[in-house]
Amino acid sequence: MEFKEKLISSHLAFEEDLDLTDNVHQTRANALKIFEEKGFPTRKDELWKYTSLDALIREDYSLFPKSEANIELKDVKKYFLYDTDTYKVIFIDGVYSPFLSNTTHDGLDVCLMSAALSKPKYRDLINTYFNKIAPSDESLTALNTSYAKEGAFVYIPKKTVAEKPIEIIHFSSGDQDSLWLQPRNLIVIDKNSQVQIIERHQSLKQHPVVTNSVSEIYVHEDSFVDYYKLQNDLTSASLIDNTYIKQEKNSHASVHTFALGGKLIRNNLRFFHTGKHILSTLKGVTILEGKQHVDHSTMVHHSQPNCESHQDYKGIFSERSEGVFNGQILVDKIAQKTNAFQQNNNVLLDDKATVNSKPQLEIFADDVKCSHGCTIGQMDEEALFYLRSRGIPKKEAKALMTYAFANNVLESVQLPSLKKRINGQIARKLGVNLGFEL
């Protein structure tokens, strides 16, 4: 049986176990129909031209993992940004781990999607936001919706600053042979509030795992959200990350994506605007080796005047690794005075590494400032000579420059310990021991 058929025929069994409102049941059923109709995207789809899921979906995966994995804190502690002092929503093989988590309902909600979907007190929030930000016609998102059950649910009420960052981590234990995970996160930041979120997917052992994740983030007026995605997984793990952000007037939202490891990673990142004076920031650092493949597919839809967006993605590719950047900027006729910038710079360290970079600007307003630039190149020889003339050997000079090239995206990371950690990861990946934090 093809994996698609399995997903469709298993759905009944999935829903049998659940005690959910009719509303969500209907949403799931509709979503399944959309997936059934559209199926998995293929390379014939313009946005999937350079990334094929064929090899992944040719395999079979377990859809309902058992929650038997025996994971202790010491096994996973190193993946936490802080030992304490963060809210944590931790899942193992798709199942919530109360032992590793640190949720709250005190002043703000950091809890479980399964609770939000089933408890009456969240009904209004679910009806207002769940599956309302993600477009209904994207097949992988529809697939996730049809199986939406677990993930993180975050609600920041009005005039609230989340005092601690929130870490959302999905571990796969490797106890199951092969695993297909579909976490679903919903994050609502009400007016005048602020939060920082870190999301990570991590295998603890080499084993085939595919995660098709959907996060919906709603940012009300005058609010701030910084979202950090740490993608440094084992080479047996693949991730399709679908993140949708809707922003109201005067809000700021930033997403940093650090794609440092994994088998195949696809990031679908979409921003939608509903008011004026919105700022959207999309930044990424990609460092790949071996036969890893990362595809960043971004979209900022400017549908309101006086808004601003910045996209800055840096990629460093060695060996046979492959990178894809497809950056869409849509500016509606009404969206005058839009400032939209996009930059994608890549360095290829080996002959066999490849990058496909495609800016896609569709601008219908006449009074806008939009720019895009993409570069794919080798190391700057002049800069290399400059460093070497100061006595820095060629190998170190190359590593230093590569590091610096990636590092300048880090400047906007607001959490010092996260910055330090990513700095360290990047330095390690490049084999540089600089002995200091840049």
């Binding site: 000579f385 460093l387 006595g391 050997p393 610096a404 600089l434 840049l438």
Partner: protein
């Protein structure tokens, strides 16, 4: 200190240096002047070991060591320093960290351990003061968004930190206003000693009022066509370069 004998060099098949002879002794300052395109910057690049240039004849000796075949980092380890005419911007590496990396690379080549943090800080403070450099400047990315003057001052700051035996300053005066020029010149003068030597490449005599050379050489069409003392610089300032062309 530095001896250049009958140096011929080419870039992309074009011969730029056509037989340079130069002898710079420890404790001396030499100025190399000449019109645009005469080969001044090429000479600086060749001495520093830029691999874009090919030496086709002649040799360069530093303290008796033949530099032939040595890469730029090895030349730096021997004590050569080039202050770039156009310093390269390197976003993401702060001035301080760059200096530290360079100092430790040089120490490693000499079999020494990394410089202790306190010693480094003390030295940075001392040299920054000498060149009137603000501490904020030191945490900025190397040359990124620096004004022309800041870039040149940063070059001399690196020279002060690395303490080379032999420094070539390639048009360090260009892009400097008179105050910055005085600061840079004062810095170079303080660094000058009986054990090191400096070659100043410049287009104008202005800098030489502040860094007074022992010898002045005029480069034209890849050759030194005239050598003299500091009065030669004044003569060039007054008469321009046209009469020099007739000497060639």
């Amino acid at each position: 200190m530095l001896t250049i004998e009958n140096l011929h060099a080419q870039v992309e098949g074009k011969t730029i240096l056509k037989g340079i002879d130069l002898d710079v002794k420890a404790g001396e300052v030499h100025a190399i002047m000449g019109p645009n395109g005469s080969g001044k910057s090429t000479l600086a690049s060749v001495v520093a070991g830029n691999e874009d240039y090919e030496v086709i004849k002649g040799k360069i000796l530093l303290k008796g060591n033949d530099l032939d075949g040595l890469d730029p980092e090895s030349r730096a380890h021997l004590g050569i320093f080039l202050s770039f005419q156009y310093p390269v911007e390197i976003p993401g590496v702060s001035v301080t960290n760059f200096i530290k990396t360079a100092i430790n690379a040089n120490r490693k080549a000499q079999g020494l351990n990394d410089i202790p943090a306190s010693e480094l800080l003390k030295k940075i403070r001392e040299k920054a003061k000498l060149l009137d450099i603000d501490s904020k400047f030191l945490s900025r990315s190397l040359n990124e968004g620096f004004s022309g003057g800041e870039k040149k001052r940063n070059e001399i700051f690196q020279m002060a930190m690395l303490e080379p035996a032999f420094a070539i300053l390639d048009e360090t005066d260009s892009g400097l206003d008179i105050d910055a020029l005085k600061i840079v010149a004062n810095g170079v003068n303080k660094l000058k000693g009986k054990d090191n030597a400096v070659v100043v490449i410049t287009h104008y005599q202005r800098l030489l009022d502040y860094i007074v050379p022992d010898f002045v050489h005029v480069l034209f069409d890849g050759k030194i066509v005239k050598s003299g003392t500091k009065e030669l610089a004044h003569e060039l300032e007054a008469k321009g370069y046209d009469w020099i062309k007739e000497l060639a």
